[in-house]
Point group: C2
Chain length 449, copies 2
């Protein structure tokens, strides 16, 4: 039997974990610096919490957990039942599909323990029974920060600062694209197709991928007239700086109250961030709609400038996140970092700092048991200084020990034989240069300072 | 609809997460210091990997995942099928039940990428469909470190050092109990009940809980004769220091090769650790068998000295971990930290360091939008120094802002009104003493140094 794991899932080896930890630790420190606090929710939620929250397609992609024990008890005449109703009887729990719905459930369930505005972050795996393909997994991590219970645009500003700081720390130059759903509403209002706003935003969202001609075709298919599409055209082709775009938009949207509100919100965010020396470029991008029918204000998306990769972060403001669980009137704004894509970008650009990889700094290689015993206090002294130190646990076979050091990318090996013991030293071998030197404990400790 | 989570699962609030992170971070740093590297495996494993590895009872406690899509396809005549065979048809995956079996599967699957001895740690949730009760959850975290591919007792020594260092960092005084399965084998050999070794160790393991009389009764029930039990008695009542116990044991076990091997192994471990100034007490405890039929050499268990709590860590040496997946002859030794119990002990003893709780250090409270704008560069300067700083995102309502600070245990609030702006200062309020002072940016930065 050759062991394997379910398709679409992954093992993470030490080398991969070190990189993933670097990513998550970096993001976490920035979240924390802004007062966001971590929560975790269970992998399993009641199906009543999950079902109906992700559309019909989403319901199908939920991993469902079989009830324990004799799950067929009370199920009669299986042949006459639909799969949906049978499933309901034999499964009551499902695996988390995203972090947003469990977060909404958490906020409602713990509303009396929470102080609003509530700034939480959450980094956990989610599971989707999607067809696995390159870059799409059935188990993957989401990494979200949200503020709920505050309408203030200051929250948007702080999320932009967080994005900017995270990518500054990674050394990835990004474009922070920003839009506002209210502007999209304004546009559909102006062209007289308010009822079609979802179709319009979904089509606009595809502009980058399928081009303006196909978007036009899609809009036509959705019943938007040629006249309306013509009105849309100049808006989609808006050019210039952000403030140029905003002033052009203002003249187009002047009669739309909601459109003007969207412009005002964007202006506020741009003004604040200008004061704050945001390092990365911010770009007003009207084509940014992020498919979701979900955002009500700001919409964010982040792209890496020097790597071939789709969006590596995204988010926005939403209303009424918790309404479906019975708590009305809670608005929120959030951002999600795409860990798998960031992982690939850091690889592409070779940006992992060497010291993020938690390598062992020194291996002790011994010729016999006396040597091992001699080495232990040295190891203790090194570790007390926080230096990651290992001893190869078996004596002898120097080649094996050196190859262990090689495989683990350990830069120094302290070789101990009887000569070294007599001299109260070790023979320190630099694994990169091959250079060797006899050194005493103090000398060794100094080497790592 | 009142939202809830499946029974036996938990949400972790920010306060709980901070404590849990403190626990895991502390343990991780010590693991890393000894060259252990982290891996992660998927939450879902193929049922073929999991089934039959935890006994019949364990198989029942696996959470099974329903196949996606029309899972009843090809299932005919449900009524005539046993639940077991029906389950097999509609479910192919299960949730991780522990970290050991997935680790064994990982080692076999990745054997060509791994350099042995392989020192890995793993901290992930596991799921068991056990009846939930106080302190027993259906989702809980395991926190394991193992070395596989080395027989050297040095590994045992390093695990003792790791245990000692972890609890030293927590400030929890512990007894590190140690035994050796080979000694237990030797004892059953000496009393002529070698075939009963499992019964004997299971019974011995209960000595603490049910007392010597009930253990005697249980042994009788298992068919161990009064004569044999009489031979066992003095061994169970062994007294004195570790070396006194060992020398008494030596005279009893002198004719048992395996028993003497066990004694020699323990002596080696005690000798090594004596050199290493282990801070916590180590105790040879022959009653330590840890139920498991699984250990072949050293057996460890850790108890907190000043708290009411069962074992908070445990582990030991096992042979042939990976044999069931086709890789023979790999021995290993490991230790598992009980995070939930450590959490409770740290609470009982009030040992969480204040600075482990990631509190925001200062909140900016503003009377208006101009004040908010005035505050942003201050926040930026503080955060650049690594100081966790927040601004209440809405202007006005000072009481609300102060109560937010109170709820989040934020020690300082910087109040900004027009007077403060004119003076280029903030009014810094110490939330514990109530003391207030006008302070400029440099003064504020210095305050947190």
């Amino acid at each position: 039997m050759k062991p394997s794991i379910p398709k679409g899932t992954r093992d993470f080896t030490p080398a991969e974990m070190a990189k993933r930890n670097y990513i998550f630790d970096t993001i976490k420190s920035v979240f924390r610096l802004y007062g966001f606090q971590q929560i975790e929710t269970p992998a399993m939620e009641n199906l009543s919490t999950l079902m109906g929250k992700y559309g019909e397609e989403g319901d199908k992609l939920l991993f469902k957990i079989l009830n324990s024990g004799n799950f067929m008890d009370g199920v009669d005449a299986v042949q006459t039942q639909s799969i949906a109703s049978l499933t309901k009887k034999i499964s009551e729990k499902g695996l988390r599909y995203d972090l947003t719905v469990p977060f909404a459930r958490f906020v409602v369930q713990h509303q009396n323990e929470i102080s609003f505005p509530f700034k939480r972050f959450q980094i956990q795996p989610v599971w989707r029974a999607d067809r696995p393909q390159k870059g799409r997994y059935r188990e993957f991590f989401q990494c979200d920060a949200d503020v709920v219970g505050s309408d203030s645009l200051l929250n948007e500003v702080e999320l932009v600062q967080i994005i900017d700081e995270v990518y500054r720390r990674f050394g990835i130059d990004v474009i922070i694209k920003i839009n506002n759903r209210k502007i999209l509403s304004g546009i559909s209002e102006i062209i007289g197709a308010e009822d079609k706003i979802v179709d319009i935003t979904v089509a606009i969202d595809k502009l980058d991928k399928i081009g303006i001609e196909n978007v036009t075709k899609e809009l036509q298919e959705k019943g938007i007239s040629a006249v309306q599409i013509a009105k849309l055209q100049p808006i989609l082709e808006l050019k210039g700086t952000n403030s140029e775009k905003l002033s052009q938009l203002k003249s187009v949207l002047t009669s739309s109250e909601i459109g003007m509100k969207g412009i005002e919100e964007l202006e506020t965010i741009f003004n604040f961030t200008q004061d704050l020396a945001i390092k990365n470029e911010m770009e007003l991008d009207l084509t940014l709609a992020r498919g979701l029918n979900y955002y009500t204000g700001a919409i964010f998306e982040v792209k890496a400038k020097n790597a071939e990769m789709g969006s590596i972060s995204g988010g926005g403001r939403y209303d009424n996140l918790t309404g479906v669980f019975g708590l009305k009137g809670i608005s929120g704004v959030g951002i999600s970092f795409g860990a798998d894509r960031i992982y690939d970008v850091l690889n592409q650009l070779n940006l992992y700092p060497a010291d993020s990889l938690n390598h062992t700094q020194i291996l002790f290689a011994c010729f016999g048991d006396d040597e091992i015993r001699y080495a232990l206090p040295w190891l203790k002294a090194l570790r007390e200084k926080g230096i990651i130190a290992e001893i190869y646990p078996e004596a002898g076979k120097m080649k094996k020990q050196l190859s262990y050091a090689d495989n683990k990318h350990i830069p120094f090996v302290a070789v101990i034989g009887s000569n070294e013991m007599e001299a109260n030293k070790v023979m320190l071998k630099n694994m990169n240069s091959g250079e060797q030197q006899l050194i005493d404990l103090q000398g060794l400790l100094n080497k790592f300072n």
